[in-house]
Symmetry: C2
Subunit: 403 residues, 2 copies
């Protein structure tokens, strides 16, 4: 445990990092999923940055969104030009300061970056699971992560933080393992997906499943459903942006020739950009993982699942402190959904702060360097550290009184 | 001309109607399109309701949107259970009162409801055009309609009215044929498509073109690209609704079994609804028409096309009076885009009224019966009639003075 993965902190980077993995739930001790199905053994790929302190009280868990991975910060090699996906937030002196905190990020089950998913070999057959991989929920994702945190010897996480589906994981953790969560920061997230976003999610799945190369999920070793996955990404990508940011970036700018082509190839730069996003995506992501993870997020409804229909009741099961952050231009999980969450938290008597950041980059704003977001996260983490330190001191004082 | 198509006005319906057609631009007199390509001969399917008055001054032209047709009102047979697509607006005593106005609605070129489109036989080969059909613009659609209006013997249209792409046609008419347009009502429309809506449009085309049955447009007589077209419709349909209306109608309601199925079939009612919309659509629409018409709407940018980049300059070419209507919950062509249009019209010195209707049904609100919309349209048409009557009277008086 407490692996120190930060080397060579050049600039404000955690430096060179390495991906680790933890395997558990080998048969006959498989993890029972919410569907009743079993999954095992399970491998979780993860990375850590910074040092775990002696009290194991400075652990911050970061959750990735739909297509993310465990590589939140730093680089794998000296020549690696692309640092982890949240390198602007995680590092020495950054929003999540690795000089102070021990940061953990694991790849979720069902994904394709080292954790067990539909592309992994099914131990019963030795062949990739494909659609025989069981469907799972956000609660199942979190249940697996809990085993990793136990394995790392951390009794209580100082803070959980994530955007989008990452925020759902933070909420689920706080409710399902209240004794292990001091605080959480769900960003650009929701306590339940609504009809619009479920519809958009299903359109993305249909794009994949309509591709004949999908072959009912059994495409491994063959031509994968790249057209379908690229289209799913195009649809998804549009939902991560905003009208204003797209208009500012692309407007109606045409491709190089500056004239309509009068055919069905892309005329506008926004079209080429989306095609490029789709093309890049199929090189790095598995179509089945896309299906499983979007379905898990569609299933997410914390009030229904943990509060018999009441989000207040669900949140009453935790004492975690929350900082809820939304973005004014996010139309996938709009501010109103964060406010609903905050209202329920308050009714449940929780300590909650809320901030809507005025930014026009849409849902994906959480991935972009943003001073206010950094300041909010860093300030909240400071307060949480002081909380814990204060409580420990109070505990010690009380202890000495008792002596 | 002045065909009276309204029979048996049971209730407030125009009664039985019939589809007519007008064919023109036979070679060598083909219509030259904006691309420079030629199209001919061209057939336009159209319907009319009400009577053209002696001065031919009471003609109102209605434009359909992407997947509409010439059948705006009434029924084809006594047992026909589905009246035209705007039957709640067009009829005796309705918003567009067929007791007062002579209403024309034609199916646009490129469509598949009787007008010439990619599924029509190419006169050069006798086989369906497919992708050899030339790409066209909103201006080309309007250019063809102008020929129909000439054919009907109407020198000046009292009013042009349409929602979405229908609104674009109204705007284009007013600028391209100012001498023929007294007034126009663009509803839930825009003077140019922006990056977000172009991106969504391209995603829909990609859905069709990724379907192997599309066969580069050459699928007539074979299995059509139904999966692709259904998915395009699903994506499109989502953009016509709103977060609020979808949430109210479907929320997270599950299918009959009221439990997650943990597979990739639809769990939620909103998913089944969208599948149903997709399935219904492929029975009535041609995939190539979908490509051509969405592309025409993407190309639409009135300021760029007619004002050298200035929408004010474009509108300066008309003296038409405008009533611009937007819907508060329309996120495809949001109110801000209607306001941009209105600002430019005002700067061009035009007589323009604007109303944002507070309604949460999204972009598609213009198709729904809505009292305020009906009242606005009917009031504006009344005013326009009085305008014209007044002018005629003034003319007569002046005439007698001159005698």
């Amino acid at each position: 445990m407490s692996e120190y993965s930060g080397h060579d902190r050049s600039g404000a980077s955690v430096g060179l990092v390495r991906r680790q993995s933890f395997t558990f739930a080998a048969p006959p001790d498989e993890l029972t999923l919410e569907s009743g199905q079993k999954l095992g053994s399970i491998t979780l790929a993860y990375e850590t940055y910074g040092r775990l302190d002696k009290e194991a009280g400075n652990a911050v868990m970061v959750f990735h969104a739909l297509s993310g991975n465990s590589h939140a910060a730093g680089c794998y090699t000296e020549t690696d030009e692309k640092p982890g996906w949240w390198d602007n937030m995680v590092g020495p002196g950054k929003g999540i300061d690795t000089d102070k905190y021990f940061v953990i990020c694991s790849n979720i089950i069902g994904s394709c970056y080292g954790s067990t998913g539909p592309a992994s070999p099914d131990p019963r057959t030795g062949k990739p699971y494909g659609l025989s991989f069981p469907l799972f929920t956000i609660a199942d994702i979190v249940k697996a992560q809990k085993r990793l945190v136990d394995h790392l010897g951390i009794p209580k996480l100082l803070c959980l933080i994530g955007g989008s589906i990452g925020g759902m994981q933070a909420l689920q953790w706080a409710v399902d393992y209240p004794e292990m969560v001091h605080s959480a920061i769900p960003i650009a997230s929701t306590a339940k997906r609504t009809a619009l976003s479920i519809g958009l999610s299903e359109a993305q799945r249909q794009a994949i499943m309509a591709d004949p190369n999908w072959r009912n999920g059994d495409y491994y070793g063959q031509e994968p459903p790249n057209k379908g996955l690229a289209l799913a990404r195009i649809i998804g990508h549009i939902t991560y942006l905003s009208e204003d940011s797209m208009q500012r970036k692309f407007g109606r700018k045409l491709q190089e020739n500056a004239a309509f082509k009068f055919d069905f190839s892309p005329d506008f730069q926004v079209e080429s950009y989306l095609h490029y996003q789709g093309k890049k995506f199929v090189e790095r992501f598995d179509a089945n993982s896309y299906l499983y993870i979007t379905k898990a997020s569609d299933y997410f409804d914390l009030g229904e699942q943990r509060g018999e229909g009441s989000l207040v009741k669900a949140f009453s099961q935790t004492a975690a402190k929350f900082l809820v952050i939304s973005f004014s231009s996010d139309w996938l999980y709009p501010t109103s959904q964060s406010k609903d969450m905050v209202t329920a938290m308050k009714k449940a008597g929780l300590d909650v702060s809320f901030c809507e950041i005025q930014v026009d980059f849409g849902h994906d704003s959480f991935l972009l360097a943003h001073e206010q977001l950094t300041r909010l996260v860093s300030g909240f983490l400071n307060r949480m550290s002081q909380d814990v330190a204060g409580r420990t001191n109070v505990g010690k004082t009380e202890g000495s009184h008792a002596l």
